[in-house]
């Protein structure tokens, strides 16, 4: 097995907040407020991360190496001096994928028992 994948397995299952933050920074570097907005948009407003939860998660994810603060800043016209941006790491991406696979497998099992809509 890919060593990165094996390492990623150790993080499962992920807390919902962690998973959502990983999704939010998956395609572009985002700052805190942008993450909150992205999560809210994608969940149709169902999940509104609070600032405390967000930064506690971010601190832990930085420690665990799931995200980093990139040295180079985004386009100057979009940049805000005060803001700190976060970028997903290869490990972070692997963890998100592993979690998605885990959820997918769960869903399949639920379907087989008729607990969820879709193909069995």
């Amino acid at each position: 097995m890919n060593p990165l994948l094996a390492e990623a397995e150790a993080f499962l299952p992920l807390q919902p907040a962690t998973f959502h933050i990983l999704l939010a920074v998956a395609d572009e570097d985002r700052h805190g407020y942008a993450i909150i907005q992205d999560v809210a948009e994608r969940t149709g407003g169902a999940l509104k991360l609070s600032a405390g939860t967000l930064y506690r998660s971010i601190q832990r994810m930085l420690d665990q190496g799931l995200i980093v603060e990139p040295r180079e800043r985004p386009d100057p016209d979009e940049d805000d001096e005060r803001r700190r941006y976060y970028r997903i790491t290869p490990l972070g991406a692997a963890v998100a994928k592993a979690e998605a696979r885990r959820l997918h497998a769960l869903l399949k099992m639920a379907r087989a028992r008729g607990f969820a809509p879709g193909k069995a």
């Binding site: 805190g32 407020y33 909150i36 609070s50 600032a51 405390g52 930064y55 506690r56 005060r82």
Partner: protein, 865 residues
Amino acid sequence: MRAYRLLLRLYPASFRNEYGEEMCAIFSRRLRDSGGPLGAAALWPGTIADVVTSALLIHLDILRQDLRYTTRTLARARGFALTAIALVALGVGATTAAFSVTDFVLLRPLPFAHPDHLVKLWERTPAYARQELSPANYRDWTRASQSFESTGAYHSLAVNMIGHGEPLRLMGAAVSADLLPTLGVQPLAGRTFGPSDDREGAPGTALLSYSLWKSEFGGDLSVIGQRIVLDDEPFTIIGVMPGEFRFPWRDAVLWTPMRFTAQNYVDRNDNWLQAVGRLRQGVTIEQARAELLVLAAQSQKQYPKENEHIGASVIALRDELSEKSRLLLVALFGAAGCVLLIACANLANLLLARAVERRRELAVRTAIGAGRERLVRQLMTESLLLAFVGGSLGIAIAVTAVPLLAQLVPTTLPIAGTATIDVRVLIFAAALTALTGLLFGLAPVMRTGTDATVRGLNDGSRAGGGRKERLRSTLVFAEIVASVVLLVSAGLLMRALWAVQATDPGFKADGVLTMRTPLPVPKYSAVATREAFYSRVLSDVRALPGVTDAAFISFLPLDPRMRGGIWPVSISGRATAQSDNDVAFIRYVTPGFFTTLGIALMRGRDVAASDAVDRQFVAVVSESFVRRYFPDVDPIGRHFQFAFDDRVIVGVVGDVRFRGLERVSEPQVYLPSKQVKDGWIVGYIPRDLLVRAASTSGAVALAPSIRAIIRQADPQQPVSDVRTLPDIVDMDTASRTVQVRVLGAFAAIAVVLAAVGIHGLLSFAVSQRAQEIGVRIALGAQQGDILALIVKRSAWLAIAGVIPGVALAYAAGRWMQALLVGVTPADVPTFAIAVSVTILMTLAGTLMPTLRALRIDPIAAMRVG
């Protein structure tokens, strides 16, 4: 926004510095989007909840990290961790145990309502500071007195209960009906005595203690109203007292009403009442005492003959214990305080040494970006973890130790036999050690300021600054002082114990078994009935193989329940001026008592079977009796008046220390058990059986056969207090023995701790100065020079500690003088040994570091720098 920033202070500084600004930015965006002040206000509750919970979680995250880190570092420094934990455990354990017992006996309020208002009333004579009251004086004084809300009287009671399983000997008190209300106690079930109970001729009623109710009546409430037979008389159980009610002393299990008859008030010198008073609101003990003295003076005027020299005394009920017991406990507590002090000093030293060792580690961590706040937190976690583990162990020590100290709780107080752990002290001792840990645990960060970083990285092994060295030396100095004080105190008390144990009690205890056969009255009121019992039991017991002799006496010497029993002596022609002091111990004995106990017969003869009630009444007296009453004449054949009759002296025996090894006893008079009129002086019926065998173990083995003999002689007769005489003698010094052991243990702990302290200080100094020593060796210094360098320091420490230690120890000895029974507080051998032990301890602590210094390889030492 200001409020939000304030709220953010709940987060750890490291988190706040990192994300505070971001969070403020987000919050201000939200405020902007909220659309007006109403929306903004609605934002707050959720925000506060969010910050509070996430801050808490983040703190927990850090704690978890720190604990992980701490257990890792401590596992690496196992020696340090174990020593620190042991120090905290000893300090907390010793102090908590010692203070719990001290507080329990001396300070905690008695289990009565408003116990500080309760006092005991006594008669006071030139010879006795506390003497029981006669009913007449009690009646006159309490009637006239204005100081008391109420008063009550009692006397101790010992009865045989039969008809309820095995015959049982019960101890308790006969109390006046107003005694329990005076103490302010309520029964657990049923009722207490009322005026109908203490009338003359009222049917007998009794109250049970909680323990008796549980053990003999199965804790069944239907016992109320049930009949029991006490000393052949029927009694009805009317109530059960609560578990904590132990009056007048610990073993009391039964209370019956006390009834005064007109006859009781006739003799003003018949002293057998104990009295308790409850002070009126606002009346002090001194005022009550003054008033009672006035009343006693009036009685003296009214009854100049009977009440001559009789004063009165009022003492707080709490203070009903001997000065010796009090001193024993305070000394114990002082010793525990010394141990706590030494433990804290050692802990501080240990942490300081560790701080210097860790300077490099901390400097590295600072250099790679750890904030000061994080380091402080980290070190605090370490100190608190050590304090927590050590404290828990300390509690375990205290819990185990407190029951071992039960011998120090006097039986004469109305409290339980074993102290309970005092939570306040536990918290105090734990807090003190935790504070020491915190204070000295943080020492490294106090230095790890910003500028210290570079220096810390630079210097690998150079000495850690003079100030800290001095602090550490001071701590070791304090340890030496405290251990000298403890050593001397323990030594003095040990010498005193030996002196007491070496005291000749006046009899040979080895090989003697004793038991009590409490013959009840009226069944045994007649002398002939008793004599039949004695002669049958004694002849059967003497016939047992291995028994050399056997006898009965009214009360054993050194009996913890009966240390008194004295009667006035009068001799025709002798001046009456000393009448108050003219008393002697009264004991009725059967023939053979003196040989059974190994008391030397100096002159004349023992009491004999022929000394019957129709013959001339005789007495055997002690040597001190002869010295006091017949100093210059042959005592044999002399007459004196004693216990209602004229007696002639037929023999003289050696003195016996009836009151205890440490006390002076009054002269003794032994009377033949037959020479008393039926129903007279029944309190002094011989009830204690003594049996001598070849050895104590041989005597103990006889107990079942002796019980069988007694059962045959009287199946309803209970047997109680089966003990060996050596045990009774040991009991007399039990509290002293326990105290010497405890203090000895404390002193040993102190010496070991101080040695560890010296060892730590010097090894540290050696390792810090390894480079310097290396240079010296390289430059040609001899081993002797290096040796002198190290030993000089420890010698200075020892001298500096011993001098004030000796002075303080002398002061402590002066203060304990009452406990030292003849050993002077300046006892030279004790001091010499204590000082030698201290010097040896210093040497022991110096040995290892010195050897290490001598083995330093100059090249290696210099290269490290």
